[in-house]
Each structure stands twice: as structure tokens, then as C-alpha cells.
């Protein structure tokens, strides 16, 4: 039951990523060129509704549909890890035109070279895990 719920939510997410073209390298390139409103419209409208939904759920005494408490957590405070890590991710995002969600979507859509990006992303994650204690956070 739980698994199928999350599978269906993921399915919706994948269809939306593909159909809204947020999974397209071209849209990411266009976004960083500031040539169109499209990506800013997607993120901006998602965020506007997201803030409303999150703040309502945060202030009310709601449980999840499975009866567990909601998991709306604060991020650990800090600057270094977010700024450096974020910048490094931005480099990868502009090169491959894909953030982690669309990586799965594009593979499903049949773009086989994405598999190489996924394997490289797993390698990057692994190297971070090895170096974590040596990096400033």
C-alpha cells in the first residue's frame, strides 16, 4: 500500500518533469541564458503553492495519511556546505541539463547516454562520502 502510493506519486512527478520540459537540457540552457520565463514560471508557481501548503501543514496538527507525524524538518544551519555544494551541483546541472529527478525520467524516456550520467553521479556521491570528514561544512 505504502509502496504503491509512493510509486504513483513518483509516476506523476516523472510525467510532469517530462511534459513540462523541466527535464530538457534545452530548457535548462535557456533558463541560464535568461531567454524565457518558462523555467522561472515552473519553479515560481511550484514555490508559491509549496510555501502555502507547507506553512499550513506546519502550523496545523496534521498526521500523515499513514498515521505518522509529518516530516517537515529545518535544515541544519550553515553557509559553506550549501554555497560550495550548491555551486558544484550547479556546474553539473548546466553541463548535463539534468537534476537528479529528471535523470530517472530521461532514462525511462529512452535516452540511454543518461545511464552514463547516472553512473557518474553515483561515483560523485561515493567520492563525497569518502571525503566528507575532510571537507569544510
Amino acid at each position: 500500500m505504502k509502496n504503491s502510493y509512493f510509486l504513483v506519486v513518483g509516476l506523476l512527478f516523472g510525467v510532469v518533469m517530462y511534459k513540462s520540459e523541466a527535464a530538457s537540457w534545452f530548457r535548462i540552457y535557456e533558463m541560464f541564458q535568461f531567454d524565457a520565463f518558462h523555467m522561472y514560471g515552473i519553479i515560481g508557481s511550484a514555490l508559491t503553492l509549496g510555501v502555502i501548503a507547507t506553512q499550513i501543514l506546519k502550523r496545523g496538527k496534521f498526521n500523515s495519511i499513514f498515521g505518522t507525524p509529518l516530516a517537515i524538518k529545518d535544515k541544519d544551519p550553515g553557509v559553506t556546505r550549501y554555497l560550495i555544494g550548491g555551486t558544484l551541483f550547479g556546474i553539473g546541472w548546466a553541463l548535463t541539463g539534468a537534476c537528479p529527478g529528471p535523470l530517472f525520467t530521461l532514462l525511462g524516456a529512452g535516452f540511454l547516454p543518461i545511464l552514463l550520467v547516472i553512473i557518474s553521479a553515483l561515483l560523485g556521491t561515493f567520492v563525497y562520502g569518502l571525503l566528507r570528514d575532510k571537507l569544510p561544512h
Binding site: 509512493f6 510509486l7 513518483g10 509516476l11 506523476l12 512527478f13 516523472g14 518533469m17 511534459k19 520540459e21 523541466a22 534545452f26 540552457y29 541560464f32 524565457a36 518558462h38 514560471g41 508557481s45 503553492l49 509549496g50 501548503a53 507547507t54 501543514l57 495519511i65 517537515i72 544551519p77 550553515g78 550549501y82 554555497l83 555544494g85 550548491g86 558544484l88 551541483f89 550547479g90 556546474i91 553539473g92 546541472w93 548546466a94 553541463l95 537534476c99 537528479p100 529527478g101 530517472f104 525520467t105 525511462g108 529512452g110 547516454p113 543518461i114 552514463l116 550520467v117 553512473i119 557518474s120 553521479a121 560523485g124 556521491t125 561515493f126 567520492v127 563525497y128 562520502g129 569518502l130
Partner: protein
Amino acid sequence: MEQLLQPWPWYVGGPLIALVLLLLLLGGKTFGMSANLRTLCTICGADKTAAFFKINWKDQNWNLMVALGALIGGFIAANWLSIDSAVAISSQTIEKLQQLGIQSAGMAYLPSEIFALKQLRDPKTLALLVVGGFFVGFGTRYAGGCTSGHAITGLSNLQLASFIAVIGFFIGGLFVNHLILPYLL
């Protein structure tokens, strides 16, 4: 039905992403796709090498289901929900990309100059995909989240940390887009 098969405008896509966020919150979880990369490392045995990967991956089962759904969703959208997958980017962008040798701009979903299998023989393309992927994996774990975890979930929860991360996304993205890609494409 006709509308469904066309590309979806931003005012449909954006609100549906908010719906995904809401459905995950109501499921007792938070949206964060890059966490799956860590879980997949653990499943591949990375927990034997680094403490960072010593997690009970079964706790992350739900998120792997979201990722699997995102994959199947990509298949469904590309094969059954699209007539023409060309992305109608702006004419300025098409012109800029054509000058850089990306002739498929405006005519495909992904640039065939990068994402066609035969392009893997080109060392520049190979480097773009491998180095780019590596930075996506390394950067998201370092920052503790990606577009879904920080730009959507974190900012919706008004987190300063996520705001800093998103500034980072744009520093890195603008740098590569304007100063590196012209030499790499």
C-alpha cells in the same frame, strides 16, 4: 486529450510539482530525489568503505519507489503522452545554440549532438556527461539536496540554508552556461 499530448505550459507544470510536494508531505516524507543516489551507493556496497553510507536502506524504500515511478513516468510521457517531443525554446536560444553547433535546437527533446549514442565516441561529449554527472552527485550530497530538496522543499519551508544552496546552483550554472559551454559544445 489534445492539450494533454502537447507540451504542458509552466502554469500547469509548476502547480503539479507543488502537488507532488504536498502528496509526499501527506505521506509523511519530504521531497528529495538526490538522496536516492546515496541509497543506491549503499545498496552497491559503499557502506563497507565509508561511514556516510551506513544507513538502513530499507528506510529509504519509499524514495526508491518515487524514483522508479519517475522513471516509469518518463516512459509513459515520452511514448504515450507526446505527439511531437520537440522543445519550443525561444528563438534567441535556438540562434545561440546553432552558432555553437547544436543544430537540433528547437527540433528535439534533448540535443542529439550530446545525447545520441554515437556521440559517446566524441571525447568532449563523453567528458561533458561524465564530469557533469560527477558534479551532480558530489554537489548534491555536499549541499544536502538538489532542486527538489532545496529549491522546492527547503524554500517552501522558508529555510535560509536552501536559499544559500539555490544561489550556489545559479553561481555554478551561470558560470558553466556562459563561460564553459561555448568551448565545450
